[in-house]
């Protein structure tokens, strides 16, 4: 994948300060969210860069109806969706490639078995639920911010988080029973 680099040092004075402050405050959360989405740090870095480039292009279009952070995570979600589509296309065009959305991508550092189980369980949730779970646990967004980022009501966020955690609990319980 082609890498794009942000040139914060090239931006105009006041805007540079503002954007750099925004970057510093949010980049860890965005990167963590991207990692959860693709489960690969290299791709997560690319996606994060892509996300901030998009944010930079649309900086002036932000209308202030949501928080800037929620707006950024809306972009992050679209970036991750585009990334999955691109991966799918690549997998379809490259003969013999076995790129699945999540499971084929090697996980991060191997931890203890319980953590791996929960990690796999969250990964096997449907996209709507896992997005909410990642925004909550990886990015630390509030319900209101998640709702703004995804463009859904707060009640739906609560519902998806509950369903997601329910799914995680069931999968953990099932795997405990199997072992």
């Amino acid at each position: 994948m082609r890498r794009h680099y942000l040139r914060i040092d090239k931006m105009a004075g006041n805007f540079r300060v503002e954007f750099q402050e925004f970057w510093t405050r949010t980049v860890g959360k965005v990167r963590a969210y991207m990692f959860c989405a693709c489960r690969n740090w290299a791709d997560a870095d690319d996606m994060t860069q892509d996300c901030y480039l998009r944010a930079l292009r649309g900086w002036g279009q932000f209308n202030g109806s949501a928080s800037r952070e929620a707006w950024l995570f809306g972009i992050a979600r679209r970036t991750s969706v585009d990334w999955f589509r691109r991966k799918k296309r690549q997998a379809a065009t490259v003969a013999g490639a076995n790129v699945k959305e999540r499971s084929a991508i090697p996980p991060g550092e191997p931890g203890d078995k319980k953590i791996e189980k929960i990690w796999d369980a969250v990964g096997s949730l449907n996209a709507d639920q896992s997005q909410v779970v990642y925004m909550r646990f990886a990015a630390g967004l509030s319900y209101a911010q998640i709702a703004q980022a995804l463009g859904i009501p707060v009640g739906t966020v609560r519902s998806r988080l509950h369903r997601g955690l329910e799914g995680v609990r069931e999968r953990i319980g099932r795997s405990d029973d199997e072992t």
Binding site: I8, G28, F35
Partner: protein, 178 residues
Amino acid sequence: MKRDVIERLAIDSAAGELNEDGQSLFEAYLAEHPGAKQWAETMFRTYRQTEAAIGSKIGSAGASIAAVSVESRPAALARWRPALRWAAVVFVAALVGAGVGRWSRSPRPVQKPERAIASANRPVAPASLDLEDANGSFWRAKAVAMFEPRPYRQANAAMQAGGLWQKYEHYIKEKYHE
């Protein structure tokens, strides 16, 4: 309350999304209902475990990317910036020059016959110069030859004295001018 509602409230409580009143009411309810408390604790545990699992996977996510994108890349580019700038200037200048040369070229002048130019520029012989009298001095013969239409006439004496070789030379000159 149903289990579903208890679990949702448990998640809200763990996430800090309940206000103070709601939190105290929920705790009071759980204290009175051990069954509900058990459901809530199960969900609390799942919440904490999920949070810990994701937290351990992402680690310190924000540490390295800022260094890669903000510092390393511009440093590498900065070395080549002056050369790139000059190359761009030269390229643009060449482009402008080529464009100007291409679009501002004057139309090619019509090739006029050489004879016409020659006759236009030919000096007119002064009235005092007798063109028929070419047997005078050397310079007079030259002057007469200059005002003669080409191929100019040679002095009769020279033509007669030269013989065959001079006739041939004269013939070659005539051919050349034709």
